[in-house]
Amino acid sequence: MNIIVCIKQVPDTQDIRINPETNTLMREGVQSIVNPFDMYAIEEALRIKERLGAASTKVTVLSMGPSQAEEALREAVSMGADEMVLMSDRAFAGSDTWATSYTLAKGIQKLGKFDLIICGKQAIDGDTAQVGPGIAATLDIPQVTYVKKTEDIKEGLAKFERMTEEGYEVIETPLPCLITVVKEINIPRLPSLKGKIKAKQSKATVLGAKDLEVDPDRLGLQGSPTAVKKIFTPPKRTGGQVLQGEVPDIVNKLADSIKDVVISVSKT
């Protein structure tokens, strides 16, 4: 079985600062990490590999980004992934989620036969949660988002538990398919020394635009319909209102103020 894990290198938000004048991320000196949700994706791929047998399963990690994103791929190899592929090309620069999904899908097609694609539910820098589903749509394969458990997986068929706001759904799907995973699915392992040594010695396969069968108009900035008009920090919430007094009085006051809100909203 061939499993592809899509990962993204992101700035470590634990030590991130925002430039208060431009409202943009100050990336200088900020460490890059593997997107935390992608760590669950890598771990799940490795667990499926252990479940199905190491000899018959291959885990390939794939990332689109600048050359330093190879560091993120190496981390996945140090945990136990077999191969790494980096999609890096100036033509990919400035991609929004639409262009990114398209490019990654084309990269996956280039890699040949695959059974399962695993993505983290979203990246912590953009928080869109669109790229996973976008890849599935481009490849025209089934997708299961917010997976919290792999119930069963075998040649051509898999069963997943998918988180919803009310509980969870059990979904059976033919393979190949794409899943996005949530943090409830597992606890990612730490890298091993042998894995780290292997990662140090291995090199990523690099794919550029000319290696792919792509429509150049759908790549990078020009293939990205999303335009960022303005970035701003929402105004801070003000203190709210504290109601004091006897309980019946408070309840009445509360009911009145809710009525006021409802009336003013319905009028506008």
Partner: protein
């Protein structure tokens, strides 16, 4: 400070640091409070290939030496000296096999220790034989193809948890120290039992028990080296393992210093953070300097051991002596920096002081270390 570590050593250190930070720090206080053995951490260590960093590649290790042992022990100790010693005591129990085992013995025991499947322990101390190791009373009687052991070993780190024990026992009592021999004994051998688990001041995550031998019969093949070499086995083992204790002390001191620095920038008195007071700055500066000096000495000795230097007794003793005294002082000062909070068990710093104390006592008290150093000094003078 840059100690010119190799790429592989940096990898080992960084991985140990990650485990310490992500896995050990969150559970250190609980293991200390409940005195529970950190099996879940031992499992993480095994999965990360860290258990065999000082063991030859041929036997499933990484092929490193004392330096790698020190790096891992220091990083783990920075989070918890008690958990670190479960790893380091295994190294202590394994060194006799590395140094004196034949290929068959190495083949049989080292791979499982390197993979983390089994822990090891070293047993020399007895109720009546601590610093005076020649006074041990445990005997090994030869009977055909076997040895039969009788006696009680005391305060054995990893006792009861480890699977492999290297035990020093007298094969010829009349010869005194030259009548001692070293044996490998596996847990589960009939006649080999464990006494009660000791209650300790510090390193409470680690298990310390008595080993009780009652007509315990082991095959002749379990003898390490030759009969009568037991004392040499013990001394040569300590030469290699003392930098490990020094590294434990450095790690404990560093961990306490980290907390003290962090706290000094948070705590406000007289309208300022206490880090702005020079009296406190001087304390922190002294602590940091002492920790770095201890680390420099420890690493130098570890490197000396790894280059194959023949006699490292003096230097090894110096590292253990100096680093453990530094750990005691720095952890005591760290509590002082935190004041009343430092004394409370809600804060992690008092544990560092409790954990530090043992490093001045085990693997030879610091008084014994001074004996070793002085003896070597005087011998050197005689040699001219």
């Amino acid at each position: 400070m840059d100690y010119l570590l190799t790429e592989q050593q940096i990898m080992v250190r960084d991985l140990a640091r990650k485990i310490a930070k992500e896995k050990i720090t969150p559970v250190a206080a609980e293991h200390d409070e409940k005195e529970t053995f950190p099996w879940e951490i031992m499992k993480v260590m095994a999965e990360s290939d860290l258990c065999g960093v000082y063991i030859e590649e041929k036997y499933g290790g990484l092929g490193g030496g004392a330096m790698e042992l020190c790096l891992v022990t220091e990083e783990l100790s920075r989070a918890c000296g008690g958990i670190a010693i479960c790893f380091a005591a295994t190294a202590l129990g394994t060194y006799p096999i590395i140094l004196f085992g034949n290929d068959e013995q190495k083949q049989k025991y080292l791979p499982d220790i390197a993979s983390g499947k089994k822990l090891a322990a070293f047993a020399l101390t007895e109720a009546g034989a601590g610093s005076d190791a020649g006074a041990i009373a445990t005997t090994a009687r030869k009977e055909g193809d076997h040895y039969v052991l009788n006696g009680v070993k005391q305060w054995i780190t990893n006792g009861g948890e480890a699977e492999v024990y290297t035990v020093i026992a007298m094969t010829d009592r009349e010869k005194g120290a030259r009548g001692a021999s070293a044996f490998i004994i596996e847990k589960g051998t009939p006649g080999f039992d464990f006494g009660k688990k000791e209650k300790k001041l510090g390193i409470r995550a680690s298990a310390t028990r008595e080993l009780v031998f009652n007509e315990c019969k082991i095959p002749k093949a379990n003898l390490l080296g030759r009969e009568g070499m037991g004392f040499i086995v013990a001394m040569k083992t300590f030469d290699k393992s003392r930098p490990g204790v020094a590294a434990q002390a450095v790690g404990i001191a560093q961990g306490a210093l980290d907390h003290a620095v962090k706290y000094s920038r948070e705590r406000k008195q007289f309208g300022k953070t206490i880090s702005s007071f020079q009296g406190l700055q001087f304390m922190l500066a002294d602590m940091a300097t002492e920790v770095e000096a201890a680390r420099a000495l420890t690493y130098s000795v570890a490197k000396m051991v790894d280059t194959g230097a023949k006699d490292v007794s003096k230097e090894s003793a110096m590292a253990k002596l100096f680093a453990s005294d530094v750990a005691m002082k720095v952890t005591t000062d760290a509590i002082q920096v935190l004041g009343g909070y430092g004394y409370m068990r809600d804060y992690p710093v008092e544990k560092y002081m409790r954990d530090a104390k043992i490093t001045q006592i085990y693997e030879g008290t610091n008084q014994i270390q001074r004996n070793v150093i002085a003896l070597e000094l005087l011998k050197e003078q005689l040699r001219g």
